[in-house]
Structure formats: C-alpha cells, structure tokens
C-alpha cells in the first residue's frame, strides 16, 4: 500500500547503462543517512514523544510530585489508582465521554467514507451534466472554517432541541468535501474505465457497480480517509465544547472539565485523564501508522 502511495510524480530519465556503477557509488554517498542525520532524527523523535511519555509519568505519580525539583522523569506506582479516580469522577463523566467519543467517531467515519466513495466515484468515472461545476463547489466548501458557522449551527441545534445530544456532534459532519475530493483523485487513476464498462456489459446497475466493483478497488484510499476522519473526530474540541456539557460529553469535553475544574487542586487527575484520552489514538496509530503516513504523503502530492 505504501509503495503505491509514494510513487514519484515525474519519471526521471534512466541513466545510460555504462554509467550505472559510477552513479550508484555517487548516489550512495549522497543518499545514505549519515550518523549525524540519525542523531538529528533521534533528537526530533525524543522531543516529539516526550510530552506524551511525560503525561503518562505524571499520571502515575501523586500530587506531591508537583513541587518536586527537578520535575519527575520516571514513572511512579499510582497510575491505576489515579485512573480509577478519574473514571469515578462524576463531574467529568469520563467513561461516558470515552463511549460517546467512540460512538460519534465511528458514525461520522462510516458516513464520511460511504458518501465520499459514492460521490468520489461519480465524479471520477460517471458522466453527467454540471459535473465540473459541482466538483468546484465541493472544493470551495473545503475552505469554510468551522468557526464561521458555529453560531447559526448552534441556533439550529437549539431549534432542533439537539443541544447536549450526540446527534448534534454527528449529523452536521456526515459529509466532508475533503473526503469526496480525495476519493475522486484516487478513483481517477485506480479504477480503469474498462472495469466499469465490463460491469455494465454484465448488466450491473450503477449501484451494483459501485458496491461490488468500485468499492473494493477503493479500499486503500477509503481506509486512509476513515483513519484520518476517525482521529479528527475523536480530537475535535471547539464544536463539542460549544454544544455539549458534562451530561453528554465527548472525551475532549470531559478532559476540558477536568482541566478547568481540577488543575489547581488535583492536577494528577487531569494528567491521568489526558493519558487515558490519548490511549485509543495511540493504539490506532500503532496499528495503522504506515497507512496514515502514506495517506498524508499521497494527499499532499495529489493536491
């Protein structure tokens, strides 16, 4: 998967066969990572990982650690005590927050992937009047920031009586312009016209073609879109912060309640919550990191 995702855009001219040996030598000197490169990358990674590791360290200690100089850099024994304290905290409603976030992220992800593959396939492979204009509109929708729409969206939720309900954080996000665009770009090259033709000749309807021919072929791109959507939804802060409260929190809302309410008095609890909120994403990242990286790199080259 990652090999198909990172193919270079321009094909360099192949060197004449006689020069091959010399070029390879020069190129290995140029392209092999030097010890200095490794060192620089290791420092980068340490700085990247440190705040995450540190939140787990603080989460495993007790509140007296706050006054320690130098700050503690090794884990303590209290992680599970702290975790049970967070989970029992009725203000933050953390367990509920985790469950809600799982529900919300799954619903949004399924819906975005479904509608994006449907529309992306239509834009890439079907002929219809007004296609280009509609595609342009989709690209333009990607430029509207959430912030601008928050107030009317909130009033809309009040009108529907949806504040403090999960549909308030699901339904407005069922489609995503980025997803349609991304799938469309992928489908253009990944699905041949002959494949669609063949399905037609066999008598498959357009829906049938989508379901049994196109969707399987789009699986790699759909998986990446799904992963990115899931993480984005899981991490979303502003909108849940506006429309939800502690009775129906997502995990980020629970975290915010912890952070604003307990920071001064019980900051270990705040950090334990932070660590717990990161765990599901870490699992996703460890399992699918390769695909996520491929997706980010591919998306940028295509865009």
């Amino acid at each position: 998967m990652s090999t198909t995702m990172t193919r270079p855009r321009s094909v360099p001219g192949t060197p004449p066969p006689g020069k091959k040996r010399r070029v390879r030598n020069a190129s290995s000197a140029l392209w092999d990572a030097s010890p200095l490169t490794y060192l620089a990358l290791i420092i980068t990674i340490v700085l990247s990982v440190f705040p995450i590791v540190w939140s787990f360290i603080v989460a495993s200690r007790d509140n007296s650690a706050v006054t320690d100089i130098p700050p503690p850099l090794t884990p303590g024994p209290n992680f599970f005590d702290n975790a049970s304290r967070v989970l029992a905290n009725t203000d933050a409603n953390f367990v509920y927050g985790l469950i809600n976030s799982a529900i919300v992220s799954s619903c949004v992800t399924l819906s975005v992937v479904f509608f994006s593959t449907l529309a992306g396939f239509a834009f890439a492979k079907l002929k219809f009047r007004g296609k280009n204009a509609l595609l342009l509109i989709i690209i333009l929708t990607m430029m509207i920031p959430t912030q601008v729409n928050i107030i009317p969206l909130y009033l809309l939720m009040v009108k529907f009586d949806w504040t403090n309900t999960l549909q308030a954080v699901i339904v407005p996000f069922l489609v995503k312009g980025f997803g349609v665009f991304m799938i469309r770009q992928y489908a253009e090259s990944a699905i041949s016209d002959e494949l669609i033709e063949a399905a037609r000749v066999d008598g498959a309807s357009t829906w049938r073609t989508y379901w049994s021919v196109v969707l399987p072929a789009l699986r790699p791109a759909a998986a990446v879109l799904g992963l990115l959507t899931f993480m984005e939804t899981w991490n979303d802060f502003l909108w849940p912060y506006v429309v939800l409260n502690g009775d129906t929190p997502t995990v980020q809302v629970s975290l915010n309640i912890l952070a604003t309410g307990y920071y001064k008095t019980d900051y270990v609890q705040v950090f334990t919550g932070t660590a717990l909120a990161i765990v599901p994403l870490l699992l996703v990242f460890v399992a699918f990191g390769r695909q996520i990286i491929g997706g980010i790199m591919e998306g940028s080259v295509k865009a």
Binding site: G13, I278, V284, S300
Partner: protein, 328 residues
C-alpha cells in the same frame, strides 16, 4: 447459438432469441438508461443536501444574523444594518485579537515550516527503520489539541514547570508565562509547532521524493555543497508544496482556539489584558458569555471568514504564479 430442444415456441418463429426472455431485457434497457442518467446525481446528492443544511445555510444565516440585533437571552430585536460591524471595528478589543491572531500565526508558522523542511531533508535519505522513524515524527499530530494544551500548560507552569526549571538550571530567571505577550506567544507557538511540524515534514518529504535524484548527483559532481543543494535545488522545486502548507497553516492559524484557551486553564479572555486572546476566542466570548451577543458574534465570524478568504486568494494567486514559473 444453442439449438432449442425442449422449447416449443423457440425455433418455430425462426428468430434466434425466444420471445419470453426478451420482455424483461427490454425493460432492463429502459431501467438501465434511467439508471445511467439518474445515478450520478443520486450519488452526489447526499453530499449537497447535507452541506446545504449544515454548511451553506449557516454561512448565509451568519451573514443575516450579523445585520440584526440579537442575543441568546433576549432573542431577535430587528434589523440594524451595519451597526454590529461598526461597533466591532471601532472597538479596540477587536484590533487586539486581530493583532494576537496574526502575531501568533507568524511566530508559530515560520519556525514550524523551517524545521519541517529540515526534518524532511533528513528523512529523505536511505535509512533503517524508516517507517518507525516517520511514525515517531508524526506522533504529536495524532494527540488531541486538548491534551496538548493541558500537557504544555504544565510544562510552561509558572512555578515547578519544566520550562522554568530548564531556564533556571542554566542560570536564567523563571518566567511568568501567562503575564506577558511575548512569553505567552512563545509557549503557544511551542504547542502549535510541536503538533504540526512533523505533519508538514511528511508533506515536504513527499514533494522531495518527486525531485529527480540526478539533479542532486550532477550538482554534487559539480562541487555544490549540501547546503547549496538544499537551497538551490530542493527549496525551489518544492515551492508549490511550501505554498500549499502555508495555505493550510493560514487557515488553521486564523482559527486558533483550543491551545490558548487551555494554556490559561480554560479562561476565554486569554490573559488578564487579552495578551493571547485570538479572534476565535473573541467570537466565543462575545456570543456564549458576557452579553450573549449573537449579532455581534456573527459579524466577527464574517470578518474572520473574509480575512481567511483574502488570504486563500492571495495564496492561490501565488501558487498559480509559481507553478507557471516552474513550467515555463
């Protein structure tokens, strides 16, 4: 064509296909034509219907709200023209948050993109454990903004914070991070950059991999140093990608909200003198606290939208020019 043995009616008519099977096939053709014509619209319709309700309608409604006197507590009190805009533009508070938003954007984005370029050039080598290293660089991007705000809130705590401990251990004075503009901006820039540098590095890496390696090899045969190759080959050739990341960072930077909010433990004012309150925080403060002034909040929202639009258009023009420049 197989000869019909058991069928009675088939061969007698002399026509090859039998009568009964033909009836449904004609209907399939008609359905097929309808299917061909209608399906594309049905396939793209869900996007447009949902976007109309939750994207386009709110955008227009924001514009309408911005011309009305309206509060969450008092409801709609009629059309006031451009009164809301006038109030905002004549209020110093608005210009403070604009200054903060742009300042924070620049302070955060410039070092972020420079470091991303550097990291990408390191990643663009043959190395062991390639995927693991890339994952290590990207990992900050998968953590939530809220988590970043909380963790860096403690790193930049006034007493007992890691940052102050480091400063003091090299003989400098501790800093009250939330009490000055420069110090709060520094801390917030750290949060933003920690989360986004690796992401941008991967985007640059993808662009760098598309550059023909021969260019570097012949340049190095001509005696060009690594630094020279970087500035003369890499940077010019990935310029469109650099502009792309600038656009993305601009749109993100103009919307900065969570980091400065949680940096100060959830206080929407962003410092006692609004030293690090952004436009997005100001919208929230105006609409959902204080006077619950929906009309004025909507007007600020539209101003923000226009600013982002102008930025995007400028960037778009720049991208077009640079793409033209490289192809001609």
């Amino acid at each position: 064509m197989a000869t019909n043995v058991g069928e009675v009616s088939g061969p007698r008519h002399g026509r090859a296909p039998a009568g009964p099977p033909k009836q449904p096939s004609r209907r399939t053709v008609r359905v097929g034509r309808l299917d061909l014509r209608l399906s594309p619209y049905l396939f793209v319709a869900p996007f447009f219907v949902l976007f109309a309700v939750f994207g386009a309608y709110p955008l227009i409604y924001t514009a309408i709200l911005s011309t009305r006197k309206n509060t969450l507590t008092g409801g709609d009190a009629g059309f006031v023209g451009l009164e809301n805009y006038k109030k905002i533009l004549w209020d110093e508070h608005f210009w403070i948050v604009i200054y903060n938003t742009f300042g924070l954007f620049i302070v955060a984005t410039v070092p972020q993109l420079i470091f991303a370029l550097l990291i990408a050039s390191w990643l663009n080598k043959k190395m062991r454990a390639r995927t693991a290293i890339r994952m290590g660089v990207l990992i900050p991007n998968i953590t939530s903004v809220a988590a970043v705000g909380i963790v860096f809130g403690l790193i930049f705590a006034d007493r007992y914070g890691l940052a102050n401990w480091l400063l003091q251990s090299i003989g400098l004075d501790a800093v009250e991070w939330r009490n000055h503009r420069w110090s709060s901006w520094t801390a917030i820039a750290f949060m933003v950059d920690w989360r986004w540098t690796g992401y941008n590095a991967l985007i640059y890496l993808a662009a760098m991999q598309a550059i023909p390696k021969e260019l570097y090899e012949s340049a190095s045969l001509d005696g060009a140093s690594a630094a020279r190759r970087f500035w003369r080959i890499t940077v010019p050739l990935i310029q469109p990608t650099i502009l792309f990341t600038v656009i993305i960072s601009t749109i993100g930077g103009m919307q900065l909200f969570t980091e400065p909010l949680l940096f100060n433990y959830g206080r929407i004012q962003g410092g006692s003198l609004n030293e690090f309150q952004t436009v997005a925080m100001y919208i929230y403060e105006t609409t959902f606290t204080n006077n619950y002034n929906v009309g004025r909040g909507a007007a600020i929202s539209w101003l923000l939208f226009v600013i982002i639009l102008i930025f995007a258009l400028i960037n778009f023009a720049l991208v077009r020019r640079s793409v033209k420049g490289t192809t001609s």
